[in-house]
Symmetry: C2
C-alpha cells in the first residue's frame, strides 16, 4: 500500500480513537491496533501522539472547509450559496461525528499549533460567510448607507459570527437530540437569519 494511503488510514483510526477515548486517555497502542500497523510504523509515519493529533485536526478542518466551500456554487445568489454551504456542513457533521468531536470538543483545550489551526479554519469559514453577506448587501442595491459600508463596518463580520456560532450549536443539538435531514437544519438557521434580512439591510436595528 502506498505511504500516502496508509497515512490516511492511520489518521482515520486516530480520529476515531481520539474522539471515543479522549486525547489524554487515547494510546498510540490502541491507534496502531485500530489501523493494523505496528506502533513503530505509526511513529515513523506520523510522529508523536501530539503530532498525530495535530495532523488529525489539520485534515479534519480542511475536510470541513472543503465540504462547506465546495457546496457554495459561486453562480448562485448569496442566500442560496449559504443555504447549500450550511446543508453540506450539517451533512458532514452527521456523517463524521468523530471529526466533530475532535475539532469542537478536544482541539480547543490543546496547545499550539492545534488551537491556531482550528482558529484559522474558523476564520476561513467566517470570512467566506462575511463575503456572502457583503455581496447580498451590494446586490440588494439599497438606498442610504449600508451595513459594512457605513459607520458600522463590523456589522457583516458580526453577523457572520452569528451564523457560524449558530451552525456549531445546531450541529451539536442534532447530534444530541437525533438526526434530521441536513437541509432541514440548514433551513431552520436560514429562516432565522435570512427572513428579516431586508429590513436589516435597510438599516433597521433592534430597539430603534
Amino acid at each position: 500500500m502506498p505511504r500516502a494511503q496508509r497515512e490516511q488510514q492511520m489518521l482515520d483510526a486516530a480520529v476515531m480513537i481520539f474522539s471515543r477515548s479522549g486525547y489524554h486517555a487515547a494510546s498510540m497502542d490502541e491507534i496502531a491496533e485500530a489501523c493494523e500497523v505496528s506502533k513503530p510504523m505509526l511513529y515513523l509515519y506520523l510522529g508523536s501522539k501530539e503530532e498525530l493529533f495535530a495532523a488529525c485536526i489539520r485534515r479534519e478542518a480542511d475536510r470541513l472547509i472543503a465540504a462547506f466551500a465546495g457546496a457554495a456554487d459561486p453562480g448562485l445568489a448569496p442566500g442560496d450559496q449559504l443555504f447549500h454551504g450550511l446543508t453540506a456542513f450539517f451533512a458532514f457533521v452527521a456523517e463524521h461525528r468523530d471529526s466533530w468531536v475532535v475539532l469542537y470538543q478536544q482541539a480547543r483545550a490543546q496547545g499550539e499549533p492545534v488551537v491556531e489551526d482550528v482558529a484559522s479554519a474558523r476564520r476561513e469559514v467566517v470570512s467566506a460567510v462575511t463575503a456572502l453577506l457583503r455581496r447580498a448587501v451590494r446586490e440588494a442595491d439599497l438606498p442610504g448607507p449600508r451595513p459594512g459600508e457605513g459607520p458600522d463596518r463590523g456589522e457583516a463580520a458580526a453577523m457572520a459570527q452569528v451564523i457560524v456560532g449558530a451552525a456549531d450549536a445546531l450541529a451539536g443539538w442534532v447530534l444530541d437530540t437525533g438526526p434530521e435531514p441536513p437541509e432541514e437544519t440548514a433551513r431552520r438557521l436560514m429562516s432565522v437569519i435570512w427572513i428579516g434580512l431586508e429590513p436589516r439591510l435597510r438599516g433597521a436595528r433592534y430597539g430603534d
Copy 2:
C-alpha cells in the same frame, strides 16, 4: 478568614492560573502561590487538581447563569428580557475573561463530571431562552399553527440553540477583536434574531 471566603479566593486564583497556563500545565504549586496559601491547605480545602478544576467550572457556570437570568426581569416583554439577559452575558464575559476561557475552551476536553456540568449549565440557558421564545409566540396571538405548537415542536428549541451558539461566537469575537459596549453586542444579535421574528412566527420559512 472564614473557610468559605478562603475557598473563594482559592477558586479565583485557580480560574486565573487554569485559564492562563492551561489545565495540564497548571500546577497546584502555582495556584497555592497565587492565593498565598500552602499547598497542603489547598488540597485540604478543595481536593485534587481535578476536583479543584471541577469546582471552578461549577462556580463559573453558576455565575454565568446567574448573570444571564438575573438580568432577565420577568415583568418585561420577552424581547426585552432576552436583550437584557444577553447584555448581562456579554458584560460578564468582558469582565471575566478567565472564566470564559476555562468554561469554553478547557472544560469541553475534560472528562466527567466537568463535561456534564458545562452541558447542564448550557441546557439551563437554552431552556430559559426557549421559554422566552414560546412566550413571545403565545403573546403574539397569531392565527394558524404556531412554531413549537404545530407539527414542528422543535422549532423554538432550535432557535434557542441558534441564539445561544451565536452569543458564544460573538463573545469570542469581541474578546479577539477588541471591546465594545455589551449592549452593542446584544443589539447586533437581537437585530438578527428579532427583526423578522413576526413573519417567522406567522410560519414563514426560508425557501417557501
